[in-house]
């Protein structure tokens, strides 16, 4: 029973991370029907920027005096950084191919993914880069169950971001414009929405969330690697499809499910094959319920 609860805690934590990454995939696919292969690299870049900033602050001693302020500041700056990165990638590698074949833009995305990953490797090194260890040690213990401070932090930050995104997308004018553009790009232009700006914004938001996930993963596991985006990227995409591609609530739910399945699968079935579970779910969903749990949200008009 205690084992179960521990896995539950771990699963929710991991699920939140996957949800944050999945949102970027789902929003971008929803609006321009592109699987942004480079999205995993925004996650990784977030992880790196977090450690760069935190290490810098640690060297100046700010981490000991104002740890939470540093963390908050680093998080925000990292999200801004990755948003800027994503907008640049969109402008350079995807926008010119907006009316080209699907294969072309997918290959361009793949190229960008390889480019960014290697860019990170060349600028930051091949080895794991450790996070300053002063943060987040310890936690609560209930018998055999540990609930670490970091886990609480991750869940809190994730919930805040998810609620924030939800409010943005469903309650604000610009959020509704994003949904409108995803559902019918031509019509949204006809009512006066500038699709280019909306698409840039979508990329920026998605990358910002992935960046936050990256920072938290770095804190949680203690280090980052240049290729850390690869496998989580596939799983997060599986989560997005599971929830219904383009569907924001779906991505959140999908992320949680994938996280749970992975943790419980690793705990009860096999630790070695934990990466396979998410994948099996992906195949299953695509085979039995391709529109996902909560339905798709894409532009299915044909002009």
């Amino acid at each position: 029973m205690e084992f179960f609860l521990q896995q539950l805690i771990n699963g929710i934590t991991l699920g939140g991370i996957y949800a944050l990454i999945a949102l970027g995939y789902t929003m971008v696919y929803g609006i321009i029907q592109l699987i942004n292969f480079a999205h995993g690299e925004f996650f990784a870049a977030g992880g790196y920027m977090g450690v760069i900033l935190l290490s810098y602050l640690a060297a100046h001693g700010y981490m000991t005096t104002h740890p939470w302020l540093c963390l908050g500041g680093a998080l925000v700056l990292t999200m801004i950084y990755c948003a800027a990165l994503a907008m640049a990638v969109e402008k350079v590698a995807y926008k010119p191919l907006r009316y080209a074949s699907r294969l072309s833009v997918l290959l361009s995305a793949l190229g960008m993914s390889i480019f960014l990953q290697n860019g990170l490797m060349l600028t930051q090194g091949v080895y794991d880069k450790p996070y300053p260890s002063s943060l987040g040690q310890g936690g609560f213990e209930f018998g055999m169950i540990t609930l670490s401070y970091l886990q609480i932090l991750i869940v809190v930050v994730t919930v805040v971001l998810l609620v924030g995104l939800n409010a943005l997308v469903f309650k604000t004018r610009i959020g509704k414009a994003m949904r409108a553009t995803a559902q019918d790009k031509v019509m949204s232009s006809l009512v006066g929405i500038n699709s280019n700006k909306i698409i840039s914004l979508t990329f920026a938001l998605g990358a910002g969330l992935a960046a936050a996930a990256g920072v938290m993963v770095g804190l949680y596991y203690g280090s980052v690697r240049y290729d850390m985006g690869f496998i989580p990227g596939i799983k997060a995409f599986a989560a997005a499809v599971l929830g219904g591609i383009g569907n924001i609530t779906g991505a959140m739910l999908g992320g949680l499910i994938i996280g749970m399945v992975e943790i419980f699968g690793a705990g009860y079935i096999s630790g070695q094959y934990k990466d396979v579970f998410a994948f099996i779910i992906l195949i299953g969903v695509l085979y039995f319920m391709p529109t996902g749990i909560m339905g798709e949200n894409i532009d299915d008009t044909r002009v």
Binding site: K91, R102, L103, L107, L110, G111, F115, Q117, L286
Partner: protein, 408 residues
């Protein structure tokens, strides 16, 4: 015309600034608490120089200023291409074939080694081409078939002592089977999903190979695989057939050359067959093809399975040549490299893919110092190709013609 240039240069300047802002934090903020600008600035300068030259040439070309320098060169180029074009295709094929066959006579081991690699990748590229170039499906896990083929031969050889040539069809078969297993659920779905799903499958195969200790020995790999062997007639003691393991590098070269030529011929025939035309229809517009009575699912599965077969053949050779096989050789990186060859060389273009494999294997060997930047260049090249020359270096000739092209 000129103010269009102004707009491009303005965007270029903004792009450069943005690039610097993104680059600096990665190189300029240090964990000892210092902030430097030197490294970032020098990298930025390199990029600035390179892109500035390219953009300048482009602008000059656009404004026809280069014509006067181009003139004598253009004339020479035209004469050469005219002369070359006058020679029939089979001449070139024969020439290349002769060079290929005679290669071991005038090259060192090192060159033969590289040549063997090139040929393996040509085979892989052509196999992937069936999926990506002919049928238009993006497969990111192609290397899994390579792995299946390699491990099949390895296991058959180590467990049952099966010889290379007997095991070869088995490798092909199991790779084909893997293709059908992977293809069956995947090909019903939207084309976009195929990429991610095949990517996942590639990884799954690697994970299984890495973890299934009993069968594959996990990350330690399998050792002691026997190379291909042949029987040859010997007249030493009357007529008898002697067995010889082909351990010499140039003998292995001929084996892969044989496999490669077989693949080229097969793909060429497929391309110009009814099946090939159906694949082209699917590639151009799947919905329309379906409406025209093309059984898209079966044909896509066929493309997938056939591509897998050639991957399997290449894989079998790989393990026979290396005499050792481990999951490391079958990562996504490899899939991406094979895909690059197909895309950069020219999708569905056999000469293009050959050139692509050649370039992607030989160039890094020649420019050893920039080995580190190899993958970075791949990634950038793939994106740039899609932006500027999606047909590839040597574009494929269409099988059919479009009515607009015929002037209708």
């Amino acid at each position: 015309m000129i103010h269009e240039s102004k707009k491009i240069w303005k965007n270029y300047a903004i792009g450069l600034i943005w690039f610097f802002v993104l680059l600096w934090p990665l190189l300029g903020i240090h964990k000892d608490g210092s902030l430097t600008i030197g490294r970032a600035f020098s990298v930025w300068l390199y990029v600035l120089a390179g892109t500035f030259i390219c953009l300048s040439l482009y602008t000059l070309h656009k404004n026809d200023i280069l014509k006067w320098t181009g003139s004598p060169m253009a004339k020479a180029k035209d004469r050469v291409t005219a002369a070359a074009g006058a020679l029939p295709n089979w001449f070139w094929v024969l020439l290349i074939l002769t060079v290929a066959v005679l290669l071991p006579l005038f090259s060192h081991r090192y060159a033969q080694d590289v040549a063997i690699n090139v040929l393996i990748y040509i085979t892989l590229g052509l196999g992937l081409n069936i999926v990506v170039g002919l049928a238009g499906m993006l497969d990111l896990g192609y290397i899994a078939f390579y792995g299946v083929g390699a491990y099949t031969y390895a296991l058959l050889n180590l467990q049952y002592g099966m010889s290379f040539w007997v095991a070869l069809p088995f490798s092909a078969f199991f790779a084909c089977l893997a293709g059908c297993i992977i293809g069956y659920p995947t090909l019903r779905m939207r084309g976009d999903y195929l990429a991610i799903v095949t990517l996942g499958f590639g990884e799954i195969v690697r994970i299984i190979l890495n973890n299934w200790m009993e069968l594959t020995n996990g990350p330690n790999g399998l050792l002691g695989i026997k190379p291909p062997g042949i029987y040859y007639p010997s007249f030493a003691h009357g007529f008898s057939l002697e067995f010889l393991y082909l351990k010499k590098l140039y003998l292995l070269y001929y084996v892969i050359l044989f496999i490669c030529i077989f693949t080229i011929v097969a793909v060429y025939r497929l391309n110009f067959s009814r099946i090939g035309r159906a694949w082209e229809a699917i590639r151009e517009d799947e919905t329309v093809a379906e409406l025209m009575g093309v059984n898209t699912f079966r044909l896509k599965l066929l493309a997938y399975a056939m591509g897998a077969i050639f991957g399997g053949l290449a894989g079998a050779f790989f393990s026979a040549r290396m005499r050792f096989v481990s999951p490391e050789s079958f990562s996504f990186l490899e899939s991406a490299m094979v895909l690059s060859m197909v895309v950069l060389g020219g999708m569905a273009s056999i000469p293009g893919i050959i050139l692509g494999a050649f370039a992607l294997i030989v160039l890094p060997e020649v420019f050893r110092e920039v080995e580190l930047y190899r993958m970075l260049a791949f990634g950038a090249a793939m994106t740039l190709m899609m932006l500027f020359r999606p047909e590839g270096l040597i574009p494929a000739k269409r099988v059919g013609t479009r009515s607009e092209e015929r002037g209708g």
